[in-house]
Amino acid sequence: MANYLMLIHRDESAEEQVTGQTVSEAYRRFMERRGSALRGGAALEPAATATTVRPDGGGGFAVTDGPFAETKEVLGGYYVIEAADLDEALAIAKEIPMPSGGVEVRPIRVMS
């Protein structure tokens, strides 16, 4: 057996944001069929709610609004964390070892 990460990409401008924050029927069907294989997963808040932390090269960090803009970097790993608020989440992000690149901190959508 092996584990895989499935990255779901979508066009936010083309797809209407689900306002009720409920799981759609299509996802419910998917989870019924494949639930036994799922080890975790979540919907994310829109990219506009993301914050990116990058080492500034001088021992500090640059904190910017918006998602991580890839140039030559590629996705290298992930953590799901629980934090009291964005300040704590950013503090944790800064402690993740990252000699290059950066960390995008994106809120996970809370489903009702």
């Binding site: 709610t49 914050t51 609004d65 918006g66 009291a84 809370v110």
Partner: protein, 428 residues
């Protein structure tokens, strides 16, 4: 009983004075900033509706705060009902909230609006909308964007605050210096937007400068131990003191060398110098304190010729240390041109010309033109002015450059050498 004119005047005065206070208190109880804003708007609307009948309250601010907090709680209860499945989304209000609003709530509001996880333009917009109470239409006009664009920017920022859980609080002491920089930059940006007035927006921009001064005074009162807060207040006062001399009767900007120093606001200068002294006493001078100190040297010079350029040059050396930016380096080169001589200034300027950020920057070319004029090299000066004209979009600034260029054609180099127009931008 009060007449409708009295009520309107009282509500408008309370809007101007108490908006931030009322909103900051409501934001403690409301489910999010958008709801807090709604609660405050409702409170002002209900003031308009009821003060006429019941009379204007002795303390309009307290009345509005109570009304807004009540409405905020109401909105909160509704949100809790809507999301009963997840009550932890809305933690119980702090028991301290029952004691009523404390002035420091405004500080929470400012730090939330200026959170570094928001884009700078969003921080400025949120601060003007939520802390200063400017309408979205006014914020849009001040930044020369369409109202729907500004409305979308503010909505997006509020959504991010809510969805990303940007906390409503004053940062911990460890984070305070960095977070404070973001707040001070926003206030400074509000000021400079009001200060560098493009055509046709004079009045509104003036009100932006006033808002920036109010914010700087508020921060100074709320954070009395922070040197850079005193420094920013000093910078705003010492720069704004020259406002009466900055524009001629035709609306054309007048640069520092040509300003009538008799009309400078001496009271503002005195207040600025007091704030500057406080800044130096409180700690190591930072970016805003040093910029204020440079402004103070200009304010204290009785004539342009009497400006203490050696001191200004020294202050730019320190500023470049704490704020290593190409623009500061450019202004430092201009100061060297006055303190040590045009040849030394030109040498420094040419060293900077390789800096990519400054390539295409009109002030570099105009500063060069100025130094070349003083060195008696009119042909090269003319070329530099023409380059500056190509790079400058602002109509008023173009007029000034064209005037300089025309003067170059009629004035002998030796006479031109005694005058200078580009000055040091940041210090004006």
């Amino acid at each position: 009983m009060a007449t409708s004119a009295e009520v309107a005047a009282a509500v408008s005065a309370a809007h101007r004075r108490e908006w931030a206070f009322v909103l900051a208190a409501a934001a403690r109880l409301a489910p999010d900033l958008g709801a807090a804003e709604e609660a405050v708007q409702d409170a002002y609307a209900s003031a308009l509706a009821t003060w006429g009948e019941r009379g204007i309250p002795v303390s309009p601010g307290a009345w509005l705060t109570t009304a807004a907090r009540r409405r905020a709680l109401d909105l909160r209860r509704r949100a809790v009902v809507a999301e009963r499945a997840l009550p932890q989304l809305l933690p119980e209000p702090d028991p301290a909230d029952d004691r009523g609003a404390v002035p420091d709530d405004r500080l929470r509001l400012i730090f939330t609006c200026c959170h570094p996880a928001l884009a700078e333009e969003a921080r400025v917009a949120l601060t003007l909308r939520l802390v200063c109470g400017l309408s979205t239409a006014d914020v849009a006009r001040a930044f020369l964007v369409a109202e729907p664009t500004m409305a979308a920017r503010i909505t997006r920022a509020k959504k991010k605050v809510a969805a990303a859980c940007i906390p409503y609080r004053v940062p911990e002491p460890d984070d305070l210096p960095e977070r404070l920089q973001s707040v001070l930059s926003v206030v400074h940006l509000v000021y400079t937007t009001g200060h560098t007035a493009p055509d046709g927006e004079g009045l509104l921009r003036r009100s932006l400068s006033e808002r920036a001064l109010e914010l700087a005074l508020l921060l100074r009162a709320l954070l009395p131990r922070e040197p850079e807060v005193a420094g920013l207040l000093a910078l705003v006062l010492l720069t704004d003191a020259r406002r009466p001399a900055r524009v001629d009767p035709d609306g054309v900007p007048v640069l520092l060398p040509d300003q009538d120093r008799d009309v400078w606001d001496r009271e503002a200068i005195a207040a600025g110098l007091r704030a500057l002294a406080a800044a130096f006493e409180l700690g190591r001078p930072g970016r805003f304190t040093l910029m204020a100190a440079i402004a103070a040297v200009h304010d204290e010079a009785e004539t342009w010729a009497g400006t203490d350029w050696r001191q200004i040059r020294g202050l730019y050396d320190l500023l470049l240390d704490v704020w290593p930016s190409p623009i500061v380096a450019l202004n430092r080169a201009v100061a060297i041109g006055f303190a040590d001589g045009p040849a030394e200034g030109l040498e420094e300027l040419d060293r900077l010309a390789a800096e990519p950020v400054l390539a295409g920057y009109g002030y570099l070319a105009s500063a060069r033109a100025d130094l070349l004029t003083r060195l008696g090299r009119p042909t090269q000066a003319r070329a530099a002015y023409e380059e500056a004209l190509l790079l400058t979009g602002n109509a008023a600034e173009r007029r000034l450059l064209e005037r300089r260029l025309a003067a170059l054609r009629v004035v002998e180099p030796s006479a031109a050498a005694s005058r200078s127009y580009s000055g040091s931008r940041r210090a004006q």
